[in-house]
């Protein structure tokens, strides 16, 4: 039986053009740019300087502080610049630029194609390996995996949930992994189950990826405790709170974390990265990126070295079509539009979407008629139209009562609004205003 969550949600056009297409290895680009902040938390500290020779898989920036992740070189070559580079939003961020040479991997990395089933290292070693190899959540939020595995004192997980919902339209990165690396994913899940001492794991996959479900089920007999659960197609099922609601029927309390109700949740892509880190000793230096768009010549799923400029991906997909109007990093619902094509692929970039002028344009904004469609689709049960009105009128003191911080910015409200009101933009603005207000009040005290 297929499961889903009940409150809210929308059904955007799926447009999974690249579904079922094989993963293509993109050649190593002539230059890579590796930002020191590719995760949530504090930026990593740079370990190399200009002129240093680095090998593929060598650590070039160390994550210091509690929430941080290491960054490894994704190519072999020479460091050409350690400076601030323009990121996807146009602002400057610290990054390391490496000019590539012949691809030479670090000696301790197993580059062979063989499948390693036996988990040969102990639990503390697994934790250290995941931290050392710079693994972060591959779904898009890029929360460092080792931090998620270190539970707060007194909390214990009983069920591991693996997120294979991939509810964003267009994106098929996780889908292609399920089809080609099914067993590796299951070994990765097994590793995490052992490390956390969890007996039961559920993989939630939306039903538009039935071939992926079948492929995972084929291997799941060999790995006890792991079950594959089909889900009805509904956006935003890939949100951790909603996936838990769909699979277990439990609700994460407002402002809480999944661990508060005894669950811990990882993405399918993260599981594959964990498998490679633990079994093959390979750091997180490449990922699957779906390059897609209706007018692209060759939309495909690429395996890309982290740091590859986005322009290389577009080139490999047949170049920028003439009617291209907007390029989005990530999916159409939660992705960010790019300012320039010279930004690099980061650990959290699951897709690259080229939209034409018809698809991307915003329609003229009209007045709110209180039809409350935004309220009915909001998966968090808040009232977007009300929050927008409060933010517009600068009534920041009421925003906390409207539970503005429950919003996970899925964009369902802006998508459904018949008056084309930019609800999500104002909610985001409200969040920053509320934060500033709280800070000011704290300072005043």
């Amino acid at each position: 039986m297929l499961k889903t969550f009940r409150k809210g949600g929308i059904h955007p056009e799926e447009n999974k053009i690249t579904a079922g297409k094989p993963i293509v290895d993109l050649p190593v680009p002539p230059v890579v740019i590796l930002p020191t902040l590719q995760h949530i938390g504090t930026p990593a500290t740079v370990l190399v300087k200009k002129g240093d020779k680095v090998k593929t898989g060598q650590m070039i920036a160390a994550g210091e502080g509690f929430i941080a992740a290491n960054v490894h070189s994704s190519v072999t070559g020479t460091v050409t610049r350690v400076d601030k580079f323009t990121d996807a939003s146009g602002y400057k961020r610290m990054a390391i630029e490496i000019g590539t040479g012949a691809d030479e991997w670090m000696d301790d990395i197993d580059t062979g194609p063989g499948l390693v089933r036996e988990i040969s290292i102990s639990i503390p070693e697994i934790m250290v390996r995941i931290w050392d190899k710079g693994i972060v959540g591959m779904g898009g939020a890029t929360f460092p995996t080792h931090v998620k595995m270190a539970f707060p004192r007194g909390k214990k997980a009983s069920i591991l949930i693996i997120n294979g919902a991939e509810c964003e339209p267009y994106i098929t990165a996780d889908h292609s992994l399920m089809l080609e690396k099914g067993e590796e994913i299951l070994i990765g899940i097994r590793i995490i189950m052992d490390a956390l001492g969890v007996e039961k794991a559920i993989v939630g996959v939306e039903n538009n990826k039935y071939d992926g479900i079948e492929n995972l089920r084929k291997f799941s007999d060999k790995y006890p405790g792991i079950s594959i659960q089909g889900l009805k197609v509904k956006y935003p099922q890939g949100s951790e709170k909603h996936l838990i609601k769909s699979l277990l029927g439990r609700e994460v309390p407002s402002g809480g974390l999944p661990i508060d109700i005894g669950t811990v949740i990882f993405n399918i892509g993260t599981m594959y990265a964990v498998y490679e880190a633990v079994q093959k000793n390979k750091p997180l230096i490449s990922r699957i990126v779906t390059v897609t768009g209706k007018s692209l010549k060759y939309p495909s799923n690429f395996r890309v070295r982290i740091g590859t400029p986005v322009s290389e991906l577009i080139k490999a997909a047949g170049g920028l079509p003439e009617n291209a109007n907007k390029i989005i990093a990530g999916g159409p619902m939660m992705g960010k539009a790019l300012n320039t094509l010279e930004v690099p692929v980061t650990k959290g970039m699951s897709g690259l979407l080229v939209l034409d002028d018809v698809e991307s344009g915003r329609k003229p904004v009209q007045n709110c008629i209180r039809c409350s469609r935004c309220v009915s689709v909001c998966p968090m049960g808040i009232e977007p139209y009300l929050i927008m009105a409060m933010v517009e009128k600068e009534k920041c003191e009421f925003l906390d009562d409207c539970h503005i911080n429950d919003c996970m910015e899925c964009g369902s409200c802006s998508y459904i609004c018949p008056a084309n009101r930019p609800l999500l933009d104002y909610i985001r603005l409200g969040k920053t205003k509320l934060k500033k207000r709280k800070q000011a009040l704290k300072e005043a005290e």
């Binding site: 323009t86 996807a88 146009g90 300012n339 915003r362 930019p422 985001r428 603005l429 920053t432």
Partner: protein, 292 residues
């Protein structure tokens, strides 16, 4: 019949009298003492309730004035020194005089000087756009031109110039209340010392990029060449992060830096016409003034 009326009148009067006594006693018991000077000070204030002094409204500012021992750190930018001396007279304290200030927009990247490299079609708000990305030009520091500062101004002292896409401050109306400075997400607007006849000279750029990058994104960007620093005899100009800054207090309005600037990013406003030695100088300045 009449006895009912008499009975009613008597009982109501008695209730009223007793209530009056109780109310009087309670009012005496829970009397809130309010310094009468607060009202006096509030009357002296301009009643703009703009928050420029740092307090929510004129009443709160008046309370703060009465409570504090001296007036240092308390200043009403709208009323200026005149109002503050009145307040000081009421409270019998020494007024701390401050230089009058005026808001200055430090960006000259008009449509023709700063090419647009992408199109923003989101909500027309600087705060929202800067939250999404750096802006629709190559300059990550420049004005976004949606007029958050115009909406913030309570005194109608700032408006958008449609031809340049930049805000313009009307000096006579500006009270230096700081509202636009807070509203601008790019921190472009600055309060500077007000000079005679609203004369001002300032670096109209806050781009901290290296010269070549800044120049590429905007024709009138400060490229941090340091020529103005060398020519200034009064040590008024400092160069930091490839950006020059003129200290309004030290500046004597000698205008040497203006002609020295290779990108015309130093503006002179309301200055008398120069004695032109050669034709080029006055031409350059005419262009700048037009640009503003």
């Amino acid at each position: 019949m009449s006895s009912v009326i008499i009975y009613t009148i008597v009982s109501l009067s008695a209730t009223g009298a007793v209530s009056a006594v109780i109310l009087y006693l309670v009012a005496q018991r829970f009397k809130v003492f309010e310094d009468p000077r607060i009202d006096l000070v509030e009357d002296a204030l301009p009643a703009a309730n703009c928050g420029g002094c740092g307090y929510t409204g004129c009443r709160n500012f008046a309370e703060a004035c009465v409570k504090s021992d001296n007036l240092s750190g308390l200043f009403c930018p709208v009323g200026g020194n005149e109002t503050m001396s009145k307040v000081a007279a009421i409270l019998g304290m020494e007024a701390v005089s401050q230089d009058a200030q005026v808001a200055v927009v430090r960006c000259s990247g008009s449509y023709n000087k700063r090419p647009r490299i992408n199109i923003y079609d989101g909500p027309p708000s600087c705060a929202i756009q800067s939250g999404i990305y750096s802006g629709d030009t190559g300059c990550a520091y420049g004005c976004l031109g949606h007029g958050d500062c115009v909406k913030a101004c309570e005194f109608d002292a700032i408006h958008m110039d449609r031809t340049t896409g930049l805000p313009v401050v009307t000096d006579e109306k500006c009270t230096a209340c700081n509202a636009c400075v807070i509203a601008c997400p790019k921190n472009i607007i600055e309060l500077r010392k007000k000079n005679k006849k609203d004369r001002k000279i300032f670096v109209s750029c806050i781009n901290e990029e290296k010269g070549a990058i800044a120049k590429k994104s905007c024709e009138v960007a400060c490229i941090g060449c340091g020529k103005c620093v060398k020519v200034c005899k009064f040590d008024a100009i400092t160069l930091e992060n490839y950006l020059a800054y003129i200290d309004a207090v030290k500046c004597t309005l000698c205008r040497k830096c203006v002609t020295e600037c290779p990108t015309n990013s130093i503006l002179e406003i309301n200055m008398p016409p120069r004695k032109s030695q050669d034709g080029t100088d006055s031409l350059v300045n005419a262009e700048i003034v037009e640009n503003v």
